[in-house]
Amino acid sequence: MPHQRFPKIKIISSAPQEIQFILSDTDTSVANALRRIMIGETPTLAIDLVEFHENSTVLNDEYMAHRLGMIPIRYQAPDSFKGGDCNVAFLPHRECVCYDRCPRCSVEFELDVDFDQVNPTRADDEVLAPLTVTSRDLKSNNEGVEPAHFLNQDEQDESQDEGIAIVKMGPGQRLKFKAIARMGISKEHAKWCPVAVATYRFWPVITINEEQCSTLTMEQKMEIVDCCSDRILEIDEVTGNLQAVENAHELATFTEDLKFTQNAMKKNPEDDDFVTVVQSTDRFLFSVESTGAMDADEIVLSALRVLKERLNYLAQEVDNLKDL
């Protein structure tokens, strides 16, 4: 079609919990739309209803229910080890045709912890300490769905807990409930947000004016190199010229200091700058960090699919307008 753009993507680093990639040859509006969808409209699972049978802990029912809602819940497709997109396996509750709930639209978790029953099984040195009820005690009725106890393997190795702490109990206290998790989007409640951070930065364009730089002394060049806190410049050993560091583009976040220092050095205020750093308008460095509910690359793909569905829906509606 006439005015389509053909954006490019290059992945810088990808781990289950964080992904960094460069999106180029497209507009800020597309980058912003992708960011907004990752934060607000990517569907995930989270506990939505809690039926308490017994709660004699120090936290009251609604407080506990709020905490349970915030636990990130991970869906794993039967054939994969990744935290995947739950949209393929579940329906939103309001679209499901079942009467109250069914395995297609919800997942049930059960928890039953009684301090007096668990205490005898604990190690001798722990018997007097409070018992921490963690997300490990939640038993799901769907094999592929489990709370995300840790963000990644490193956190699991370093932590002293066995999962996300829900409440600490003492003697005589008992907690028993059934929690129902449903699919939703973050626009409805922040518990359904799959990302901790989803941001993008503009790619910096660093130009070094060789002619102007040749009028500088070595001390002045050192001053320019030092004034930038990101350390994006260096002096070439052989030629003595100012040049950008190898990974300068990924380091540059704040470059206003360069302007001030150069203004002080210039003979006339209207001369050109020696080093200019401008923001590119069509190249973005994205950084997406997951909460553990989904793998970071799955979040980006899910957001793109949501955008596609939304555009298709709008296309249909606008077509209906034409017929009227």
Partner: protein, 126 residues
């Protein structure tokens, strides 16, 4: 008491018969019309606007989101000539964006595969 329903920012209100998009042609300006998109926000409005501005048949394209607590926006489009209706340019813009999103999905999956291949090579190289 005054709190709106949680889902009211993105679900159409069927009790009042809300439709996603409505259109009203502009009486005072030629070849112009205003669309109202219900239960949408800047996410969709901005990409539509930027895409329409790339179309040479569009003379004016702008949107307004009147207040953060109301969940609709008004989108005004004016075309250059009476042969091209605002609905047509809007459809064409949405189609371009949809194709761009498809392209992005394939570009992303390809980039992921490339990255995995490169990193497996690195591990083998060690």
């Amino acid at each position: 008491m005054n709190a709106p329903e949680r889902a009211s920012s993105f679900l159409l209100d069927e009790d009042i018969g809300e439709v996603k998009v409505t259109y009203s042609a502009d009486t005072k300006v030629s070849n112009a019309g205003t669309f109202r998109f219900n239960k949408e926000d800047h996410t969709v409005a901005n990409i539509l606007r930027m895409q329409l501005l790339r179309d040479p048949m569009v003379r004016f394209a702008g949107y307004i989101h009147p207040h953060p607590l109301v969940h609709f926006f008004d989108f005004k489009i004016q075309t250059n000539s009476s042969t091209v209706a605002p609905q047509e340019v809007l459809s064409s813009a949405i189609e371009d964006l949809s194709n761009e999103t498809d392209h992005l999905i394939t570009a992303f999956t390809d980039a992921l595969d490339d990255w995995k291949k490169e990193n497996e090579k690195g591990v083998m190289g060690l």
